[in-house]
């Protein structure tokens, strides 16, 4: 689960990290109120789960109360990459030029089967850009998941990264960040920029925090922080059914299969066939007709989808159950787009018999995933050309 900046800051604060003060506003009047309370200047920052909000105009320096109000009006309700801004964070502005901006972060790193701590003197930038342009400017260090990060390790990393200031306090901030990551099951936590002021003390100006969905059961206190309106509506519906679903941009073929691997390969096959996958949908193993019906219903709701490609290799999953689910969707009038499918494995012949009985041009079964994908691509591209 991705957290908003203000939520990530709240967690870091609970672990003792020195965090830039701020308050959340939902109306321009509230923005003005907070600006008045803090004194000027303030910064008004959109709280949405997408990167690049600064470039999109979602972060605005506000030298006066009126300007803060005006910026609140501009940013609230704004659309950033398909998501509406419902909240802004209002913080006191810091004189960036008077100090230095650094980067620290911790990420789950499968290559070391642990967390990796990253630190860079190139703060304030997207770390991916730094990693690409000047990878040697990022210091990496494996964090032991049992002991956590020790202060001496943090100091070593800070020194190697070229941090200047009160090294003990900076290292302490890194240690506290790592405690937050381990205790709150972070997949990713970043402090960027980590601002070191003229007094040499560190202050977290911005943060990213993402929690391992598998561990949410032990962070029930944060469950209220999940904001469904901040997610794609179809993704919300998918999560109700327990599907792994990702909406993909510019696609025209709905894709569903049983298992993450086969669905990823299905995306590749659709691309090869000359169309674009509109989504990733994993129905999981052993799906019954009802699950398939719900999956078809979900994908059909996506207006970008012009045809559906179903790719199943049934072990525990039965092909006839898949066919039944698709047929039910057809009978209820939910299915109006062509479905091209490959269902191999258990009860394949029963599935063929069921489809022959229905005999609808909308549902066709093919012996290989390539033929099914080719046909789905053809249908989708033709429908789009109309």
């Amino acid at each position: 689960m991705k957290l908003h900046e203000y939520q990530g800051k709240e967690i870091l604060r609970q672990f003792g990290v020195n965090v830039q003060e701020g308050k959340v506003a939902r109306t321009p009047d509230e923005v003005r109120q907070i600006a008045r309370e803090y004194g000027q200047p303030v910064v008004v920052k959109a709280q949405v789960h997408v990167g690049g909000r600064g470039k999109a105009g979602g972060v605005k320096f506000s030298p006066t109360e009126d300007k803060a109000f005006e910026n609140g009006e501009k940013i609230l309700g704004m659309d950033i990459k398909g998501l509406t801004v419902n909240k802004v964070l209002v913080t006191k502005a810091v004189d960036i030029d008077a100090g230095t901006e650094y980067y620290v972060g911790m990420i789950v790193d499968r290559n070391v089967q642990s967390y990796t701590l990253m630190a860079s003197a190139e703060g304030g930038m997207e770390i991916e850009e730094v990693a690409e342009a000047t990878p040697d400017k990022i210091i990496k260090h494996r964090v032991d998941p049992v002991t956590g990060l020790r202060p001496y390790e943090a100091r070593e990393v800070a020194i190697k990264a070229g941090f200047k200031g009160n090294l003990n306090k900076i290292a302490d901030m890194m240690v506290k960040m790592s405690e937050a990551a381990l205790k709150r099951d972070a997949v990713l936590v970043e402090i960027n920029p980590l601002f070191v002021g003229p007094d040499g003390n560190p202050l977290a100006l911005d943060t990213k925090f993402e929690i391992d969905d598998n561990a949410m059961y032990r962070h029930k206190d944060l469950a209220d922080w999940r904001e469904l309106e901040a997610e794609h509506p179809l993704e919300i519906e998918a999560s109700k059914y327990g599907f792994a679903y990702v909406k993909l941009d510019n696609g025209n073929v709905g894709v569903l299969g049983n298992g993450a691997g086969i669905v990823m390969t299905s995306l590749d096959v659709v691309n090869r066939a000359g169309a674009k996958p509109a989504n990733f949908l994993d129905i999981g193993g052993g799906a019954k007709a009802e699950v398939v019906y719900n999956a078809v219903k979900l994908v059909s709701k996506d207006t970008d989808v012009k045809a559906i490609f179903i790719n199943i290799f049934g072990g525990i999953t039965r092909a006839d159950e898949v066919a039944k689910g698709v047929i039910q969707a057809l009978k209820e009038g939910i299915l109006t787009k062509p479905v091209r499918m490959r269902i191999a494995g258990t009860a394949e012949d029963e599935a063929k018999a069921l489809l022959a009985e229905v005999n609808s041009p909308l549902i066709q079964m093919y012996p290989t995933m390539f033929e099914a994908a080719d046909e789905a691509a053809k249908e989708a591209n033709a429908a789009e050309a109309k």
Partner: protein, 301 residues
């Protein structure tokens, strides 16, 4: 023969009396696997469909001389179940459970590795964890410690198979069967970001296995496991290896089901994996059926 498991493997099932544990215990038995007992804390001393149930792994291991444990324990207790098996000295532990918190897996994997090193230093045979979030492993015609469909692994073959994806393992096994080749041992290592055994850990076992002629590696985007595998192949393998990479068209930054399948920066991209296999002279199939063609070509060289 094959690697890691054979007809002499004696298997206990942690979580046998649960829904998944029960149905897969039956399926493993049907396959011919020697499933000797189950472990469900609190149900020790009872009987489940003819299998004795124990309260602890140590007890089940001692009573039956078991050397493999397969785990169907729900996510919250899964890492603990792994540690119980490891501390009981179980040489092979297979964690099927999906959705185990990553921090738990980090700690469990680290502890299993430490125990493994201690065991070996003391002259023992070590401890290996496979998974989590994996379909398990199967040596055709001998033993299945996992959840894969029995049918496609019935006939022994001579191609080793290692995969991060469950369904694609079935797909590849079937393609190899249909082409008249078949698989020796199939190891599903799992799709999670932190897993007990990686490609590079399994490859040396196949290299040493007299019943395996070639190996197929089914990878996917994300992580650097494929890159590490390529490095090992280039430096230490004589047997031919053929690869496939799933998710080559996935958009950067989107997570596709598996928590491991995410591209971070330029690490784990399809390009970096293709380049690594290219440098190791490992042919990479563009499509799954092409795997079969490439294996044929490699064997005829």
């Amino acid at each position: 023969m094959g690697i890691l498991v054979d007809r002499n493997s004696k298997v206990i099932v942690q979580g046998m009396t649960g829904r998944e544990g029960a149905s897969h215990s039956r399926a493993m038995k049907e396959f011919g696997t020697q499933v000797v007992a189950g472990v469900t804390p609190g149900k020790g001393g009872t009987d489940f469909e003819g299998w004795p149930i124990y309260n602890s792994v140590a007890e089940a291991k001692e009573k039956h001389g078991a050397n493999v444990s397969i785990i169907f324990v729900p996510p919250a207790g899964a890492a603990d179940a792994v540690l119980e098996a490891a501390h009981a000295g179980m040489p092979l532990i297979v964690l099927i459970t999906e959705g185990v918190p990553t921090v738990d897996m980090m700690r469990a994997v680290q502890e299993v590795k430490a125990l493994d090193a201690d065991n070996r230093a003391a002259g023992g045979q070590g401890i290996r964890l496979i998974g989590g979030n994996c379909p398990g492993l199967v040596t055709n015609g001998e033993a299945k410690i996992g959840i894969m469909p029995n049918k496609i692994y019935a006939t022994p073959g001579r191609i080793g198979l290692i995969s991060r994806s469950g369904t694609l393992t079935y797909e590849a096994a079937k393609l190899l069967n249909d082409a008249g080749m078949g698989t020796s041992t199939t190891v599903g290592i799992g799709g999670d970001p932190v897993i007990g055994t990686t490609f590079a850990d399994v490859l040396p076992l196949f290299e040493a296995d007299p019943d395996t002629d070639a190996v197929v590696v089914i990878g996917e985007i994300g992580g650097a496991d494929e890159e590490a595998a390529a490095e090992y192949i280039a430096s230490s393998m004589k047997k031919p290896v053929v690869a496939f990479i799933s998710g080559r068209s996935a958009p950067a930054g989107k997570r596709m089901g598996h928590a491991g399948a995410i591209i971070m920066g330029n690490v784990g991209t399809p390009e970096s994996k293709l380049a690594a296999f290219g440098a190791a002279n490992v042919p990479v199939a563009d499509t799954m059926p092409e795997i079969v063609e490439l294996v044929k070509q490699a064997l005829n060289k």
